[in-house]
């Protein structure tokens, strides 16, 4: 049984027991490590392919192969960034979960538990993170599709795709980074609430 109250600055939920982790925090706890590993694997593959491409250029290899690799290399490098930036986001969600569960557990030992409702910055953090992920994932897929269709007759359009997709990749990373800023900003909000709340606790 929970009741909702609104403070001048903080919107909270009051309950008898600690509310524990919410769904995104549970997801963050489970998925940060696989995403981190995906990042490392993406960069390893991308870097090896980049060396292959450099070798093709210096040895006067086929233009179609070089153009194909110019799409495959960024696809894997940015699959790596997708993985690691998602891992950063999940690790931030994990920290927010530590505050939510830990704060609740401490309050439970002395009385009713007040938990912050999910702040707007946290909602924006999740929305932007998903948006950044979509932009990067779609870009990676298109890179691979373009690479699969490279022929000697469409090298110019292949380069046009490479330039355009580069812009989208950058935007995807920028969206991710901004989402991370919002996620970290949410931690400031939570810390402020907890600093006030912990002083309100009295042994019942």
């Amino acid at each position: 049984m929970t009741t909702t109250t609104t403070r001048p600055t903080f919107e909270t939920v009051t309950s008898e027991h600690s509310v524990g982790y919410n769904a995104p925090q549970k997801m963050g706890r489970r998925l940060w490590a696989p995403m981190w590993a995906l990042g490392l694997m993406g960069w390893a593959v991308g870097f090896v392919l980049a060396i292959v491409r450099a070798n093709e250029i210096s040895s006067g290899g086929s233009e179609a192969t070089i153009a194909r690799l110019s799409h495959v290399v960024p696809a894997f490098m940015f699959l790596g960034f997708l993985g690691v930036l998602t891992a950063v986001s999940f690790a931030i969600a994990r920290i927010l979960g530590a505050f939510r569960k830990g704060g609740g557990d401490v309050q439970e030992t002395v009385g009713p538990v007040e938990t912050l409702r999910m702040p707007k910055t946290a909602k924006a953090f999740m929305a932007l993170m998903m948006m950044g992920m979509m932009v990067l994932a779609v870009t990676v897929i298109i890179h691979l599709v373009v690479a699969a269709n490279v022929t000697d007759s469409n090298l110019v359009s292949t380069e046009q795709w490479a330039i355009g997709l580069e812009g989208f990749r950058r935007l995807g990373v920028a969206i991710y980074l901004f989402a991370i800023t919002l996620g970290l900003g949410t931690i400031i909000h939570v810390l402020r609430f907890q600093s006030i709340r912990v002083r309100e606790l009295r042994r019942s």
Binding site: W32, W36, G39, L40, W43, G46, F47, A50, R53, A54, N55, I57, S58, M77, F81, V84, L85, V88, A91, I92, R94, I95, G97, A98, K101, G102, D105, V106, V110, V156, Q160, W161, I163, G164, E166, G167, F168, R170, L171, V173, A174, I175, L177, F178, T181, L182, L184, G185, I187, I188, L191, R192, Q194, S195, I196, V198, R199, L201, R202, R203
Partner: protein
């Protein structure tokens, strides 16, 4: 220097802990500026892609300054992240003051038998037990000293690299301008990310000494987590990433002297992913730092519960 930086991250206990600091709002504003700059570079790239067949010279010019501006955009958002992290540090110290004040009244009135010095196993890993707050680890002292110089040097490198990108846009055949732009800007990005990593290290240092202060103030033996594997990985990955960022800068300068456009293109073909790998390694280290912070927080909350329920 360290004392001046400390005053930026540790508020006076007399300050109002309920007030709002401006780190968050300024950080969000700065982040938004970075996002807008990245959008401008997307439009520039789309224009260059459309013109690459009809006017390749203009397209190359656009791509040169667009590269410089993109890195400025990323650097702006990363500086915003750093500012928010400073805000978190400030708030962590207020949390320490609040927990100190609160635990003094909440602590169980019938404490059990005291514990001696030594080591113990906790749910969050091995910990040490000492009479007083343990001194900061060398890596913590380094983090607290280095975060600001790294951020400042990184921002300067990115801005100088942006000027180099304008020179590159003026002469798109210049290998030197291309090399300086890419090498310097990614060195700057690496430094800014390292500054962020050092700030996360400062947060870990703050959690360690703050937790110790709370326990020591209550007259309790101080339980401190030993450095976990994730924290060690954080240090290793960050150091490797910074070394790669420095190496790519030197290699770009070497590549600028490569004979002919083909030679420079071959160098650039692997140096591009190499510089990205450098940033990636620092980011991978940052993940480890965040995971460590999550674990330390879990440990601290469980410690607070113990103090409330058992008095120990």
């Amino acid at each position: 220097m360290t004392a001046r930086l400390e005053s930026l991250t540790r508020p006076s206990p007399s300050d109002d802990y309920r007030g709002n600091t401006r780190h968050r709002s300024i950080g969000f504003g700065l982040g938004l500026v970075g996002l807008l700059l990245a959008t401008v570079t997307l439009i520039a790239n789309l224009a260059a892609a459309a013109g690459v067949e009809t006017d390749p010279v203009s397209a190359a010019e656009t791509l040169a300054w667009s590269f410089g501006l993109t890195t400025v955009a990323f650097a702006t958002i990363k500086v915003a992240i750093a500012l928010v992290l400073v805000g978190i540090l400030v708030r962590l110290w207020w949390r320490v003051e609040s927990v100190k004040a609160s635990l003094a009244t909440l602590r169980s009135p019938s404490p059990g038998a005291g514990r001696g010095a030594g080591t113990l196993e906790t749910l969050y890993g091995p910990a040490t037990l000492t009479a007083t707050t343990p001194p900061p680890l060398p890596v913590h002292t380094m983090a607290k000293t280095m975060w600001f110089p790294m951020l400042a040097m990184g921002a300067m490198a990115v801005l100088i690299g942006f000027i180099a990108s304008l020179v590159w846009a003026g002469d798109t055949t210049s290998q030197a301008a291309a090399a300086w732009t890419q090498g310097l800007q990614f060195l700057g990005e690496g430094m800014i990310l390292s500054g962020i990593a050092f700030l996360l290290g400062s947060i870990l240092a703050g959690l360690r000494s703050g937790g110790g202060e709370v326990q020591e103030t209550l007259g309790l033996p101080v339980t401190t987590l030993k450095m976990p594997t994730t924290a060690k990985l954080f240090v290793v990955l960050m150091a490797m990433g910074l070394m790669v960022s420095i190496a790519q800068f030197i290699l770009y300068l070497a590549a600028s002297g490569a004979p002919g456009a083909t030679g420079f293109a071959a160098w650039s073909a692997w140096l591009g992913p190499f510089r990205e790998l450098g940033l990636g390694l620092i980011l991978a280290g940052i993940v480890m730092a965040l995971v460590t912070i999550g674990n330390v927080l879990g440990f601290q909350f469980s410690r607070i519960r113990d103090i409330i329920t058992t008095g120990q």
